[in-house]
Point group: C2
Amino acid sequence: MSEKIAVLGAGSWGATLGGLLADNGHSVMLWEFDQQAATTLRQTRTLQVLPDLQLSAGIDVTSDIAAAVRGRSMVICATPSQFMRSTLATLKNQGGIESGTSIVSVTKGLEDKTLKRMSDIISEELGASADRIAVLSGPSHAEEVCRRMPTAIVAASSSTELAQRVQHLFTREYFRVYTHNDMLGVELGGTLKNIFAIACGISDGLGLGDNSKAAILTRGLNEMARLGVKMGGQLLTFFGLAGVGDLIVTCMSKHSRNRSFGEKIGRGASPRQALTEMTMVTEGYKTAPAAYALAQRLKIECPLMEEIYQVLYNDKNPRQSLRDLMDRDTPSEWRELNTLPKEESGE
Amino acid sequence: MSEKIAVLGAGSWGATLGGLLADNGHSVMLWEFDQQAATTLRQTRTLQVLPDLQLSAGIDVTSDIAAAVRGRSMVICATPSQFMRSTLATLKNQGGIESGTSIVSVTKGLEDKTLKRMSDIISEELGASADRIAVLSGPSHAEEVCRRMPTAIVAASSSTELAQRVQHLFTREYFRVYTHNDMLGVELGGTLKNIFAIACGISDGLGLGDNSKAAILTRGLNEMARLGVKMGGQLLTFFGLAGVGDLIVTCMSKHSRNRSFGEKIGRGASPRQALTEMTMVTEGYKTAPAAYALAQRLKIECPLMEEIYQVLYNDKNPRQSLRDLMDRDTPSEWRELNTLPKEESGE
């Protein structure tokens, strides 16, 4: 069944998903903040940063946010995380969304300072109840989705009905969507992974090998899962597409900003130098201190997060961090979590 | 405390670990099957395939297996999996090992036809009880361990005391060993990963991207965990160093034989052609039909394993397999396992 859908944010991910929805036969209105950019996009049907994107005629573009959402049964939020609240506040001031409209966040990251998840902001600004909010997340470079490279992702919502509806809307022969009921865990996975992507970058910058990178990924996943479960996420979420899957793609990709940022530090740049060389936001840099503080408050031992924090904010030498990580008493592989009785860890 | 240790098998991994143990102050006797190769290794202190290896004077080399294990408190089994039983049978015929000697398998893979694990073979051939057997496994290219690149690995045994002893023997500033109590799961992880390394190679050969590779890794991990738990392994083992850690390093490495084998198939070679081009054993090729048969017998749905089996043994076109995988009904992300109640998945 064809739906009328608004996509807020015409960056590479928003435009790519808008294009995919239009190709699936839905009527798509893409909202771009900048009026001039909206006009250009409507005319050229592509983005400079994403030459493989070719928007079909079924997509319209506007810079009028109230017009964008009018009469739409679903709104996709794809603005950068730091603009999510201001964008939705603007929308609210112009009348908000119609009751019954569902909202899907496709943005990763937490709000600065408040550390709120995107779904929290949606709920607060638009007054939407939990069963009207979903999240789409997983290992998915926009560049590759544009080129129709096979991709798998999860649609998470506390409402099974909404998760399945989102799954149905987005599924395409090259885009496979699994349903999920742990929205909180899915959002945490998409955020915490950036911290460990910085660590993988540092490892690359130091000239370390595949063994070290696999160790960082695996021990990072261990910390992510233990912290995430304590924060209310489900264990298995972190071992799925929105957890380890997204972690892998971010840590391995040459294109990841967080990994590149870490690589500069590994090569000897100070975090401040490295930051000034980045043209776009490095999410992990902001997430690291927040996650570390949270781990301390919740009494979850996270040595990798701690060392990343020390390197990024206290000018600790990465080689010294590495030595300290290797030097610690080595426990059994799973601490808090390995109290899980064997019989209950099965089916 | 210094121990007297025998290492059976002077391939790159056995020689590397022997060298590490000698550097840790232990008296090491390295057994090499071929008499001439043993003489050369004793003289040159290095292996052609591993130029970075430099064996210290503390290591002796012999081709006499009975002499190798005499008076040793620990025996490390590092022969290729296909020679494990014949090697230990030879040892048994020459008097076996002294009672009280502990045995550590560092070999990955299952026995052909019987599909037995290396620890099963050790138990059967040497009559060792479970509390005298341990396994060392994880993401660890010998090339990098030789170059003292930071590496993390697990030592698993049903005996906590033995796991801790192995941990202590091998730990070095660049080699971090976690203890583990799930030897079966650790051995399965080191074996099943090769199937998905072939799949990642096929994906590379087809020219697919990072999204696809992350999806294969994550869905492969899902199948590995569901099958492994049904076979008696612990869930978390598959999300640790011997599971996802080893999976990542094998799937990402240019050096992995299994990945290279898959890449040839992705580029258009038939499995038979690809096999003839491989100079060394491709474990995953033998493991794939065994694991698939097991999954069918245990009624664990493993679509990725099934397609890999069809490509390798029934000449199915990899692109058709990919289409069939993307085309299936998409369920929720975790099936059998997501019946795990949320409260019990935590700490």
